[in-house]
Amino acid sequence: MENFETYRHDVLVIGSGGAGLRAAIEAAAAGVSVAVICRSLLGKAHTVMAEGGVAAALANVDDRDSWKVHFADTMRGGQYLNNWRMAELHAKEAPDRVRELEAWGAVFDRTEDGRILQRNFGGHKYPRLAHVGDRTGLEMIRTLQDHTIHQNVDVYQEYTIVALLNDGNQIVGAFGYDREKGRFKVFKAKAVIIATGGMGRIYKISSNSWDCTGGGISLAYHAGAELIDMEFVQFHPTGMVWPPSVRGLLITEGVRGEGGVLRNNQGRRFMFDDIPELYKGQTSTDEEEGWRYTQGDKNAKRPPELLTRDHVARCITREIKEGRGSPHGGVFLDIAWIKEKISNAPEHIKRKLPSMYHQFKELAGVDITKEPMEVGPTTHYIMGGVRVDADSQMTSVPGLFAAGECAAGLHGANRLGGNSLSDLLVFGQRAGAHAAIYAKENGESKINDSQVEELSRWALDPFERATKGGAENPFQIQTDLQEEMQKLVGIVRIEKELAEAIDKIDGFKERIGRSGCGGNRGYNPGWHTAMELKHMITVAEAITRAAKERKESRGGHFREDFPQKSDELGKVNISISKGAGDKMEIKHLPKAKVREDLQQIIEEMK
């Protein structure tokens, strides 16, 4: 057996985005030895792309805000499929987690009286998103990065984990490689935290980074952890649609928060045409009132452009489908129009939305202070993921924790904008604290050498297959998978296509088994992709099976053949775990009853 370099840590954090770094900081503060695995360089994780802000009921801009309103907004946005305890913890702890970032050097935009400024966002009743222009994610990850490097944390940059190691009862570590040379590495750990983010890259049109292949969700699944809510994928309503090479790139909801409006090719603000029952009471039916809301009028109701993302994305899809779309297959998002309302509009737009201005100018040749943007839905986020205990973030596998996008529960059927950055902080912190406790209470277990040997053989298979000839190009398989997922398991779903997708997934598995790569083990993207396909297909299958199982429409999951909500399915979360013969086992988990005082809050704020 090749003698693999072995590292020992109490807590191993896989993933170096917001959740991973926040977890590492907390675990290190508890005095255990901590390692963070960065798939890329430190500070480059997908968190860097978050734009609009981090949601926390600081009540700096509107003193009517409180954790209770944030809690109720989150539950309503998630169509009550959320884990209520996570929603409670999140709403209560987010303000402290944001203030803590300021103590670590973050520089948020300010109110007139010098406090952290907050902005409006879809589904949030009051201005709640602490932000830095439209580059909040960069500010957060840099703050966490610069804080982490002065803590007692070992950072492994450009390392990839291939599989988790367990001894049958609990997690004992992980197996992976360094990208530079492709040398295999064994990490021994008493507790492992998965903080690997999302899976947007299994779709063709996506706002996500290269890393977002669903890796951690798949690692946990193959280690025996239970997944829930995998059918709930968030398609962000506003991605770029032109030029083709940037299709899917995110346009922050902040554009609408600052007064941007959606129009079809007839110039109509179509969002007024369909306002859901749950939101009728708090949505304006008057354009003028909607504008006043975005400018901070506390008596005005919000414009329908700021309805939840699932709904806005579907309305846009409807406009496009019915022939009222823009030239490149989107609709128009117009912020330039505010020049009718304020005198220095171009400067105002550039100051509030600098990245958006830059992005359109550089990549599409469009000046957003003068003309409207063309936008359409893009795969953005997965509400589902690894099932965790609300308080500790431990998964169904002892010693294995998950936090951030790869964990499930907080967002239910649909996530509100801004709730993911607060999710990272709140549950990253909790995962770090509880993993440290777990590591202190449990000894090191033995790693099974034969498991490691088998994994190393598996990892080298793609080279073997290439030498034998007739191997498939891993990049081609990846592109084809992205196409099929986009076509068959996208924003509008139907039984026939989901069944077709399941069939195709079997075909893809077979092709993946034939994928091969040339070259050597040093920094070889073909090889990395060949290994990554295992994760991508696992997550694609889980999403498809869960989507097929939920025969209703709710939140991010829309079934054309079952367009209504079902009372029965509204009472369950769909769970997926690895069953006998490596088959996915699907279960309906009855929702836990909401604690009485919290139920009362929900009722009061309906």
Binding site: K44, G114, R115, L138, E362
Partner: protein, 248 residues
Amino acid sequence: MAKVLFNIWRTTGSGDGEFQEYKTEITEGMVVLDAVHHIQAEHANDLAVRWNCKAGKCGSCSAEINGHPKLMCMTRMSDMPEGKPITIQPLKAFPIIKDLVTDVSINYKIKKKIKKFKPRPPDAADGTWRMAQSDIDRVQEFRKCIECFLCQDVCHVLREHHLHENEKFVGPRHLVYAAALEMHPLDVEDRTGDLKDQHGIGFCNITKCCTTVCPENIVITDNAIIPLKERVADKFYDPLMKLFRIFK
């Protein structure tokens, strides 16, 4: 649309390298990174390129395109001279790992040596601070930095004289980092001594190349480095202040 010829630096078996020619189809709106991805998928699965967001936000895909340090994801093919081959090579200031990927780890080591943020005690009883927007505008400019290290690549003190390798000069990126800390309204740490003695601020002779290549348009030299030089000069070289300090 037309096929375009690329000359891409590839590491060879012996560890050296050479330019290799690739042709790929260019369609409307493509950026250089798209073309590299096409080449990778069609002709060279093992072509090493570092990238993450393809949106100009993570700063991973830095390279030298026709000799200019740029982000591959923000360089549009339509801005390239028509009918001419496009040359892509790795950053010159850092050791090559493979193909277009360089070892930028020195930057992470340097950053760790700059004294960390140290805030004054909170202003309010609830543990929070008050800062005016006008007082943080400059710091926010510096905090736009995406750590692409193009400024480090183009700086002749690093590129030609390699003064980062023995850590004599931290380079423009880290002077911007130090400036963001020094000008942070809450920060009470003093880094001027370190800037002079450890971080080698005197090596910068203000050629402003770093400012020219910054994809975030941070005015590195004028807004960050020169004010830091002034602070160092005020503290250590101002004869009046020296007298004042003696009599104090």
